[in-house]
């Protein structure tokens, strides 16, 4: 079965397959009847729509039940630009797409503030609002009577650049447009921008911790998704020549969702399969058409239980998110097996890893002063001060509930301080957004590893480099040469980081298939990849085996040797004893001890609070 999937993936992903498919689709319409051409045109539109929802829901994880709204805005926008403003059709199609992108951006402002089912409700509300506006705004949209006489091949009234466009020409335009969109989308998803979308889906908090601006990323996801749906809408208007509100009901949104989900969201091939299937079936099978909504309902009922990964998951290998070309260029095959090593490139990456020097007695990098954090009545952190120096490892220990994680959460921008300061290199950063703090060189890990489960270890670690990437979205979508160079440089560094962390052996395994210890180490490696000045590790040793503990200690020492500050929350005393320079002990949100390990073991307050009052301390 796996071998079969690999073969299918190879065939589907092969350039020759794509070229043959495009050629067949280009020449087929000439030898077939009009209704088939129309059907094929609808397939192209639905591919665009399914990809649009796939990008927003499948990739960025923002569920949408309102895609009919975007589709409608593109359709009416383009039709009205031609009919009322007299714009040329090409300009109108781009105009409709642009308007929809702007609406998507605007929708992201309220929608970006809500998640989960609130978001599902909000997007349904958006779709229904668009429907109401089309239906009721008679003067502009024609209301329930609709908008007729739109330039289209059906009415033989479509001219583009002075050329009369018939149904076959129009289909070919759609084919080229869909192919271009798919190509751009594939490039985008296999770039750090696309991977950031997945990071947002997996955990917004973790995404922020590695410097991904959540709100901006979501605005991008909404705008791009809206633009694609708007483009489909604009093409739809000029395909059928008539627009009425009934084409843009909530059922249209559901249909689009069904196509994407059944095909397999989070992939490029999935929504294509879904769109082909659900355009073909209702038009060719009378029986299917009669039971269409019952079938959609049943599919939605069972899809998450029976085939979460859709058709794409059943027939092909999971999609990968690093361009194969970049992998091959750094001496890895697409499957990730090392082939040859480019010595000079590796050297450059090495020097960049070792860039920072030692400054053991320098001023503190990060300082926390009189920090207080209250939750309603509870004071979790009660006036804590501590300083992290370059090249030193500070352990933060204390019983459960003593405020250790809260302190890290405040320092990393997940919570705002109730009072007190967080100072980085002499500058107050308390209360800034987590991604902004990360961008200034403060990176943290979590008690429970928060990674992208469907990514490989390598892809997860590359996420850590997010802040180091410079390529724009457009450059990434066009896959300009600079983008590939940058990707290669980060891949080389990721390879080194994985070597240090002992993850080379599992680099290309899916994270969700790995045991807990590897996930922990992957998260630490991801943080290393960000090349932070201050690294805060929240219980990194929890649940690790002896061997893994040794590896983790090596990793932490390595980070220290790079002149970084490390804050380590840990319960595992032997582990802490071996590696730390300074210890700060918290109890009930207050500092009860600071100094070195041996002093801590003798300190009566620590013994009472942490080790228990009866226990006798040994050195």
């Amino acid at each position: 079965m796996n071998a079969l999937r690999q073969t299918v993936s190879k065939i589907l992903g092969h350039p020759a397959t794509i070229i043959v498919a495009l050629l067949v689709l280009w020449f087929w319409p000439a030898s077939t009847d009009r209704s088939t051409v129309q059907l094929l045109s609808f397939v192209m539109l639905n591919i665009l729509l399914a990809q649009s929802i796939n990008l927003l829901t499948g990739v960025a994880g923002q569920i949408s039940l309102g895609h009919a709204g975007f589709f409608a805005i593109g359709a009416y926008g383009s039709a009205l630009l031609v009919k009322s403003a007299g714009a040329p059709v090409i300009a109108a199609i781009f105009g409709g797409t642009a308007i929809t992108a702007v609406v998507g951006w605007l929708l992201a402002v309220p929608a970006g503030r809500v998640k989960e089912f609130y978001l599902a409700m909000m997007t349904s509300g958006f779709g229904l609002l668009c429907f109401e506006i089309i239906k009721e705004w008679n003067d502009v949209t024609g209301g329930v009577m609709g908008l007729s006489g739109i330039a289209s091949p059906t009415l033989k009234s479509l001219t583009i650049l002075g050329m009369k466009i018939d149904g076959i020409d129009y289909f070919r335009i759609l084919l080229v447009a869909a192919a271009i969109v798919l190509w751009l989308l594939r490039n985008f998803i296999q770039s750090h921008h696309g991977r950031a979308f997945f990071a947002i889906q997996a955990s917004e908090i973790a995404a922020g911790s590695i410097g991904i601006d959540q709100a901006r990323t979501k605005r991008r996801a909404y705008s791009i998704s809206a633009a694609i749906a708007g483009l489909a809408g604009a093409f739809y208007a000029h395909l059928v020549g008539y627009l009425g509100p009934d084409s843009f009901t909530i059922m249209r949104s559901v249909e689009v969702l069904v196509m994407a989900v059944v095909g397999g969201i989070g992939t490029i091939i999935g929504p294509i399969l879904g769109a082909v299937l659900f355009t073909y079936l209702p038009s060719k099978l009378q029986a299917f058409a009669a039971y269409q909504f019952m079938v959609y309902g049943l599919i939605l009922m069972v899809v998450f239980l029976l085939f979460r990964k859709g058709f794409a998951g059943a027939i092909a290998e999971p999609a990968r998110f690093i361009p194969g070309r970049a992998l091959r260029a750094v001496g890895l095959t697409a499957a990730g097996v090392p082939a040859r090593v480019d010595a000079s490139a590796a050297q450059t990456a090495q020097s960049s890893v070792a860039a920072a020097g030692h400054q053991t007695d320098a001023a503190p990098l990060l300082e926390v002063r009189d920090l207080v954090k209250r939750f309603a009545g509870l004071v979790a952190v009660d006036g804590v001060s501590l300083a992290l120096h370059p090249g030193r490892i500070t352990a933060l220990i204390g019983p459960n509930g003593s405020g250790k994680s809260t302190l890290v959460n405040v320092a990393s921008g997940i919570y705002t301080p109730s009072s007190g300061q967080v100072i980085l290199r002499g500058k107050e950063i308390g209360g800034q957004a987590s991604h902004a703090i990360a961008a200034q060189g403060v990176i943290r890990t979590f008690q429970d590893p928060r990674l992208v489960p469907s990514f490989t270890v390598r892809e997860n670690i590359l996420l850590g480099a997010h802040l180091r990437y410079r390529s724009s979205m457009i450059a990434s979508a066009l896959r300009l040469p600079g983008v590939m160079k940058e990707e290669q440089a980060h891949l080389l560094r990721a390879t080194q980081v994985m070597e240090v962390a002992g993850l080379s052996g599992v680099a290309d395994q899916l994270l969700e298939s790995l045991p807990y210890g590897y996930r922990r180490l992957t998260e630490v490696a991801r943080a290393m990849m960000a090349d932070p000045d201050v690294l805060m590790l929240d219980e990194p040793a929890a649940g690790l085996s002896e061997g893994e503990l040794g590896r983790l200690a090596e990793v932490i020492r390595y980070i220290k040797s790079q002149g970084k500050s490390v804050l380590l929350i840990e319960h595992h005393m032997d582990f802490v004893n071996d590696i730390v320079d300074d210890v700060v002990v918290l109890d009930s949100g207050r500092v009860i001890y600071r100094g070195d390990m041996s002093g801590m073991r003798r300190d009566p307050a620590v013994i009472e609070a942490y080790l228990g009052i009866q226990q006798v301390a040994h050195d």
């Binding site: 039940l65 503030r113 089912f117 349904s124 509300g125 009721e136 059922m251």
Partner: protein
Amino acid sequence: MGFAASLILGGISVGAVYALIALGLNLTFLTTRTLNFGQGSVMMLAAVAAVLFAGQGMGLYAALLAGIVLVGLVGGLTEVIAIRPIAKLGGSMGWVVTTLGIGIFLQGFVAKYFGSQALAFPSFLFSPRDYVSVFGVRLSAQYLVILAIALVLVLAFEYFLKRTAWGRALQAVAMDPDLASVMGVPVRKVVTLSYVGSGILAGIAGILVAQITGTVDSAFGFNLLIFGFVAAVLGGIGNTWGALAGGLFLGVTEKLVGGYISTAAEQGIAFALLMLALAIRPEGLLGEKEVVKV
């Protein structure tokens, strides 16, 4: 004066029905942090079934009761097939899609076997033409009855939640299902029954709305689900009095906008309000902010 009063009464009456829908959503939200996205079809099914049962010669009240019982069962079934098996996936995408799927299936089923044409819904108690005169203002008797029924149910619901053993069990599950289970509360039963109750509330709401509109068809309902959700969100999801306040606010706003600005904007305003309310205060105007756990 008479115009404004009748608009406001209409709004209050419709709003009280929205509050009922919101209570149905609150109920399942409390026990499982889930909502039935197919609730619109549940409302539709209750009304359609009542019309069909009555058409088969069943007495009108018996038919209404049968419709409500039927959707109570559908509610319970929804929990068993669309919520429980999905819970382990985490996140809400799974159950949103599965419950929506049930709703669409029901809608498709009714459209296929009973036609997508609107069915006339028989009026009970009063006809739409009956009026009561209050201080010289003619008020629709039907609206008053609907208002009374809805208000009584809201009060009964709050009484059930606060004063009965099952209500307390439900609150315990809402607080912490694991702890409730340890304390001997039959959590699974409470959860399934919350879905049954939610279905019953939706069924009553559906019948009351069908009474106002006079007809019911297969597509009836999805908008109502959104209106109920707006009421729940405005009032803070999970909060009974909030649901009532939110429902009344939405109903009156809708009717006033319809009466004084344009009937075309009557529905749109609710959707706009939903987006606005969620954007400003996702936890609701009367709700408590949930602390993000890290």
